[in-house]
Structure formats: structure tokens, C-alpha cells
């Protein structure tokens, strides 16, 4: 078989269903082999960045490895933003890029870039395949590395001549690497110590993140939290791991987290961090955080996430699901309850914090409040939609007001914060889940960064509902300028906006413009009733609304600006 045929067979044997890609000179042999097969479907995007985001949306919503295919040179460089986005959020992807033929490498050949060099800092690993004999094994390794341990994107760069060379095809069943192995079980002694600490805690807090979702450990997290009757918060990446409508959930924490979550985080005496990495947008100033003494248990599969930004008392390196299974057993068998009085008092305190109702907004407003739109989106979809977002204020309102009760429903770029992510990610999600409700909550600025994918959505019948919270501003930028730059709104307005209704129609979709609060719910119902059409809803929202609470950059997590204080 040729290298191109081998590559295609590898994807089939790996069980790949969808490949998001864009052709070009260096991958023509591969595309020819794709043409001749019917094991997987190729989705032709309109920009390589979108190919990677779509594969990423597919991966986040299914837990499987997403696959993208791009050509050399500009194809690869266009893909880099997508790759870095996946890397920051630990999403398993395999990206295949074409490369110029091996003899031409290093000659400044047409469409040559050093793909391995450019992507090195934003991939879990990458490979340049110089010999067709290594192709199948390399692809096997790529899928193995991407999906095990702390997941991440893996790039396989294949020179054009390698796709033409011949080799005997054999796809390895398994792969072992002396330099890489993924731990799963945690240290039993540490888990025991942690279980006792949790049972003895007086002011406990369970802080869970994207690792719980990546580990498919939502069931275990819920069981543990209920068993202990502890409060639980999720990071932006962890939303849905614990049901947001549950009483023990105190909301998201962090820069735009709830008052109760941030206060409980600061004042707890025992903190269980599960699959979360103490990001700067989560705990704010580490010095301020360290001012209150608390003991910290940290479960993470990546040792380098532990003790990176804060000191940890009980580190547990392992897979969340395996560690929590063991911990739950110990807690069920353990002696607790001595702290019942203290725990009850802690809950009273938390309820008092919660009573400040930090997410309240003006419900009488004559202009549409963005929070209200998200609330109605939740209402109309009965909390059951997959929601992707772009980056900005709309992203935070989606996180705060769409109450996710299940994991893998919330698809957002947290670590890199990539504008342009939402629409292509929604495409990947919708193709992975035909017939399911998929919404893309976006802003008028972000949506324009990958708007061309409306065309792909038409071609592949992806009936996404685009919820454009149109405030005519790069709202998040404007908010910082209002708070920290004396209202000098440097270049954060959006002038000359397109008519989004006509634009949607030009792409063959349904467009709607909604200007009055009274029309919000009706419009959403109408849109979701159009089950096989993409509907672009342009909600003209309050231009000056801000996201609260807000922890200013570098401040302590409990030093929040609340809505009423302004």
C-alpha cells in the first residue's frame, strides 16, 4: 500500500468517524486515498483553524479523539491557533499535516514550514514521519499519546513522498513506549489520608475542574460530594461535572465566579482540588490566597499541575475516576460525623453568602439583557442543549446562567480564550450528535472570526442555533477599559457591522433580529422548532452591561467587585 492508503487505513482501524480537513498540494495523495474509501466521512471546512476547532468540539462532546487534516505551509500555520486552543484545555486531537517531500525539506521549498518546530510548544507531542515503514506505528502512538494521561493534541507531519512510498500495512494492536506511560491509580496511603481529612473537615470545599470531565468521573464526583455533604464548585472548564441545579453546587468560582463560591474557596479549612489546576483566573493572587490557612488535597494526573502555583498538603497523582472510586469506598467505611455541627454552621455561612444573589440583573429593563437571553435559552432547551461559546462577556454569562447538569455539554475555550472557536466547535458537536440541540452563544466580534463556517454548516446540514449577544462592543475589552482605563474605549467598539440576518440568509440559513425583551423567548422557541435549519439569532443587547462578580486581575479571590457596588 502507499503511505496515503496506509494513513487512511490507520484512521479506519482506529475507529475514526469524522475527519475535518482542507486539501492542498502536499496532501493530494492522501485526499486521493480518502476519495477511494468509505470508512470515515471527511468534512470540508472553509479555514484550517476551523478544522481543528471542529475536531476539538467533536472531541470535547464525545470524549473521543478528534482528527484534523491540513496541508503544509499555510494550511499548518492556519491550524496552529486551533492546536494551541486544544493544548491549553488538554483536548485529545490528532492533527495530520502534509509536508514537502523529504529531499526538499530545509530547501525553503514551496509551502514549506517547520511544522514540528512551530507546533512544538503547543502540542503534547509531535512527529515527522521520514520513512513510510514507520507511518502506521507513528499514527498508533499519536492516538495513544493524545488520549491517555493528561490528554492533548498530537501532530503527525507527513512529507508528500512518504505518502507515495510503498510499505506493507500492519496496524499495531497496542503500543508501549519506554519513555511514556500513563498512571491511573493513585497512592493508596495518600488517598486514605485525604479521606480522613475530608471526614474531619469543618469548613470543606470541593473544587473540581476540567480533569473530572476528561476522566469521565462526573458520577464519582457527584457520589463523593453527596456522601460528604460538602459544597462543590466547578471551574469554567469543569462546568457540568457536578449538576448546576443541585443545592450543594455553589456555582462557578474565579474571576467571574459567584460570591459564595469565591468566599468558600478563600475561607475553607480543607480544600479538595480535583482535576483543576489553580489557574490565575481561578484563585487570583496566590499571596492573598495563602493568607488564610487551609489544608489542600490535590488530585491530578499530571504531576506538574500539582504544587505549581500553590503549596499542597496531600498530593495525589492519578486518574480522577480511579482515585475517587477508592476514596468513596474509604469514606463509606470511615468514621465521620464528629464535625456535623461545624459543617452545619459552614452551610449556614454559605447560604448567607448565597443570599447576596450576586448574579442578579435588571429584569425590568427595556433593552434586552444578555443574561436574560441565556436564561431563556436554558429554559427553552430545558437545560439539555450542547452549548459552545466564543470568548468575552457572552461566554461568562453563558457559564453563569446556563445551568449544566451533565458533563460534555459545555464547550468553551478556557485556557487560550480563542475568539472564533464557537461556531466551528458547534459544527463538530452537531455532527457528533445529530438530532441534538446545539447552541453557539457568541458575540458580534467573535463570530466574525470564523463566520465563513456558516457555509460548512449548510453543506453538512448542521442545524446549529447561533445566539449572537450583539452589544456592538468587544464587551469584555470595553469592561476592562471602563473599570481600569478611565472609560477610554480604545478600539473596542464594533463599527460597520454586517446585517447578520441578511448574512445568514446569504449563506442559506435563517436569520432573525430580536430587539425587545418580550420577544426573546418566542424567538428562541421558533428557532429551536426549526429542527433542520441553522438559525442565526441576532439579539440586540444592552451595550453597557458588565459581567459581575469580578475579581480584578491580580486581586484576591474574595476581593470581588459586585454589581450593586457600582
Amino acid at each position: 500500500m502507499t503511505g496515503a492508503e496506509i494513513m487512511v487505513r490507520c484512521l479506519m482501524d482506529e475507529g475514526v468517524e469524522l475527519v475535518f480537513g482542507y486539501p492542498g498540494g502536499a496532501v493530494l495523495n492522501i485526499y486521493d486515498a480518502i476519495f477511494k474509501q468509505d470508512g470515515f466521512k471527511h468534512i470540508l471546512v472553509r479555514h484550517e483553524q476551523a478544522a481543528v476547532h471542529a475536531a476539538d468540539g467533536y472531541a470535547r462532546s464525545t470524549g473521543k479523539v478528534g482528527v484534523a487534516l491540513v496541508t503544509s505551509g499555510p494550511g499548518l500555520t492556519n491550524a496552529v491557533t486551533g492546536i494551541a486552543t486544544a493544548y491549553m484545555d488538554s483536548i485529545p486531537l490528532v492533527i495530520i499535516s502534509g509536508q514537502v517531500s523529504t529531499p526538499a525539506i530545509g530547501q525553503d521549498a514551496f509551502q514549506e514550514v517547520d511544522a514540528v518546530g512551530i507546533t512544538r510548544p503547543c502540542v503534547k507531542h509531535n512527529f515527522l514521519v521520514k520513512d513510510v515503514k514507520n507511518l502506521a506505528l507513528t499514527l498508533k502512538k499519536a492516538f495513544y499519546i493524545a488520549s491517555t494521561g493528561r490528554p492533548g493534541p498530537v501532530l503527525v507531519d507527513i512529507p508528500k513522498d512518504v505518502t507515495a512510498h510503498l510499505a506493507v500495512y500492519a496496524y499495531p494492536e497496542t503500543v508501549t513506549m519506554r519513555s511514556y506511560s500513563a498512571v491511573s491509580k493513585g497512592h493508596s496511603g495518600q488517598i486514605k489520608k485525604a479521606a480522613q481529612m475530608l471526614l474531619d473537615a469543618e469548613r470543606p470545599m470541593i473544587y473540581s475542574g476540567g480533569g473530572v470531565i476528561l476522566s469521565n468521573a462526573s458520577r464519582q464526583l457527584v457520589e463523593l460530594v453527596r456522601l460528604l455533604n460538602h459544597p462543590c464548585t466547578n471551574t469554567l472548564m469543569g462546568l457540568g461535572a457536578y449538576p448546576a441545579t443541585d443545592r450543594q453546587f455553589v456555582g462557578m468560582l474565579g474571576m467571574h465566579g459567584t460570591y459564595e463560591a469565591n468566599m468558600a474557596m478563600q475561607h475553607c479549612d480543607v480544600l479538595l482540588a480535583v482535576g483543576a489546576r489553580f489557574d490565575d483566573r481561578v484563585i487570583g493572587s496566590t499571596e492573598h490566597f495563602a493568607r488564610e490557612s487551609r489544608r489542600i488535597i490535590h488530585i491530578d494526573i499530571d504531576p506538574s499541575s500539582i504544587a505549581k502555583r500553590v503549596k499542597v498538603d496531600v498530593p495525589i497523582v492519578g486518574d480522577v475516576a480511579a482515585v475517587l472510586d477508592e476514596m468513596i469506598k474509604l469514606i463509606k467505611a470511615g468514621q465521620g460525623g464528629k464535625n456535623a455541627v461545624a459543617l452545619a454552621a459552614w452551610w449556614t455561612q454559605i447560604e448567607a453568602w448565597r443570599a447576596r444573589d450576586c448574579l442578579k440583573f435588571d429584569r425590568e429593563s427595556a433593552v434586552i439583557k444578555p443574561q436574560y437571553v441565556v436564561e431563556q435559552l436554558w429554559n427553552v432547551t430545558q437545560g439539555d442543549a450542547y452549548v459552545t461559546t466564543d470568548v468575552g462577556q457572552h461566554q461568562m454569562w453563558a457559564a453563569q446562567f446556563y445551568k449544566f447538569d451533565q458533563p460534555r455539554r459545555w464547550i468553551t475555550s478556557g485556557g487560550l480564550g480563542t475568539m472564533g472557536f464557537g461556531l466551528p466547535a458547534a459544527l463538530g458537536v452537531q455532527l457528533a450528535h445529530p438530532g441534538k440541540q446545539v447552541a453557539c452563544v457568541t458575540g458580534e466580534s467573535s463570530i466574525q472570526m470564523c463566520i465563513q463556517e456558516l457555509s460548512t454548516c449548510l453543506q453538512y446540514h448542521a442545524p446549529i442555533k447561533v445566539v449572537n449577544l450583539n452589544n456592538r462592543y468587544m464587551g469584555m475589552v470595553r469592561q476592562w477599559q471602563e473599570f481600569f482605563y478611565g472609560n477610554r474605549y480604545a478600539e473596542s467598539y464594533m463599527d460597520s457591522l454586517p446585517d447578520f440576518v441578511k448574512l445568514a440568509e446569504a449563506y442559506g440559513h435563517v436569520g432573525m433580529k430580536i430587539e425587545h425583551p418580550g420577544d426573546v423567548e418566542g424567538a428562541l422557541r421558533e428557532a429551536f422548532a426549526l429542527k433542520d435549519r441553522l438559525v442565526f439569532m441576532d439579539f440586540i443587547t444592552d451595550q453597557t452591561e458588565n459581567v459581575f462578580p469580578m475579581v480584578p486581575n491580580g486581586a484576591g479571590i474574595s476581593e470581588m467587585i459586585l454589581a450593586e457596588e457600582l
Binding site: 512544538r120 519506554r178 519513555s179 511514556y180 506538574s304
Partner: protein, 163 residues
């Protein structure tokens, strides 16, 4: 604090740039870095001299371990170990300097490995501090050129870094 870290990694093209890239991307110091294949040609051994607080060193070791091509990492400074570095110094050696240079090389157990009428090239091996001391000891204007390999390190006795 100064640390000397040893590691074994796959002898693949690009492996060195992964390590170098890690140090520059994360802002870690590199005082020196040496690398060469081991008796097993598929493995390279690298010695990195770095410095940082305990927390930074802990992160460096973890991040190195995380690189897919890295097979094993050992912070040599955590136990007893030996360090050696090789230096070649070309010095001006004529007139009364000639005798003096020979004497200094002998004191430091250096070898004169190249001789011309006007120059000596002296080879000195030892821990970095000894090489520093040699440089200190000779007249700076006499030094024409120096080249150092950076430290190589190995654990003492049964402390072995092997697969």
C-alpha cells in the same frame, strides 16, 4: 540554588530542541547543557546545570519528565555525585610567560595539548570551580581563547541512572 540534572532520552532528531524549548518557554535558567549518545545508541544522556528555588527545580524536573522523549530524570544534586567539565585554554606563552604557564598547568594538573612558538593550548578537567580557579590564577591578558564543555555529572557509587 544551583542544581545539576541528568536525564536519559530517546536519541531522536528534535529531542534536544524539546528540552531547550522547554527551558526558554518557561523561563528557566540554563547555565550549561551537554548531550551525547550513551553506550546504547538509541539513548542520549544530557546533563543540565540550572538554578532556581526549590519550587522551580521541582517544576523543572516534572516538566522534563513530561516530555514524551524523556525516559528518566535524576536531580544529581539531591545526593552525592561527581561533576567534571573540560576546558581548553589557549594562552600567550613566550618570554618569561612560557615557563609560568607551564607551571600553572602543572599545578592544576592540566595538559598542554598544542604548542607553538608563541602559544600553549592547555586542557584542564575538573569541577567547574576548579576551571574558574585556573582562569583566576593566570594573567587575564595572556588568555587568547577559552572553550568549556559544560558540566557532565554522575551519581556516586550505587546511584545509577539507567533504564
Amino acid at each position: 540554588m544551583r542544581h545539576i540534572i541528568s536525564l536519559l532520552m530517546e536519541n531522536e532528531s528534535g529531542a534536544l530542541s524539546r528540552v531547550a524549548g522547554l527551558f526558554s518557554a518557561r523561563g528557566y535558567n540554563i547555565e550549561s547543557l551537554t548531550v551525547a549518545p550513551t553506550e546504547d545508541a538509541t539513548l542520549s544522556r544530557m546533563t543540565i546545570v540550572t538554578s532556581g528555588s526549590e519550587e522551580v527545580i521541582e517544576q523543572i524536573v516534572k516538566q522534563l519528565n513530561k516530555l514524551i522523549d524523556v525516559v528518566k530524570v535524576l536531580d544529581l544534586s539531591e545526593g552525592s555525585h561527581i561533576e567534571r567539565e573540560l576546558m581548553l585554554v589557549k594562552v600567550r606563552a613566550f618570554g618569561k610567560d612560557r615557563e609560568e604557564m607551564k607551571r600553572m598547568a602543572d599545578i592544576f594538573r592540566g595538559n598542554i595539548i598544542d604548542v607553538t612558538e608563541r602559544t600553549y593550548t592547555i586542557e584542564v578537567t575538573g569541577p567547574g570551580s576548579k576551571l574558574d580557579a585556573f582562569i583566576e590564577a593566570i594573567d587575564p591578558v595572556a588568555i587568547l581563547e577559552t572553550v568549556r564543555t559544560g558540566a557532565s555529572g554522575i551519581g556516586r557509587g550505587e546511584r545509577i541512572l539507567k533504564l
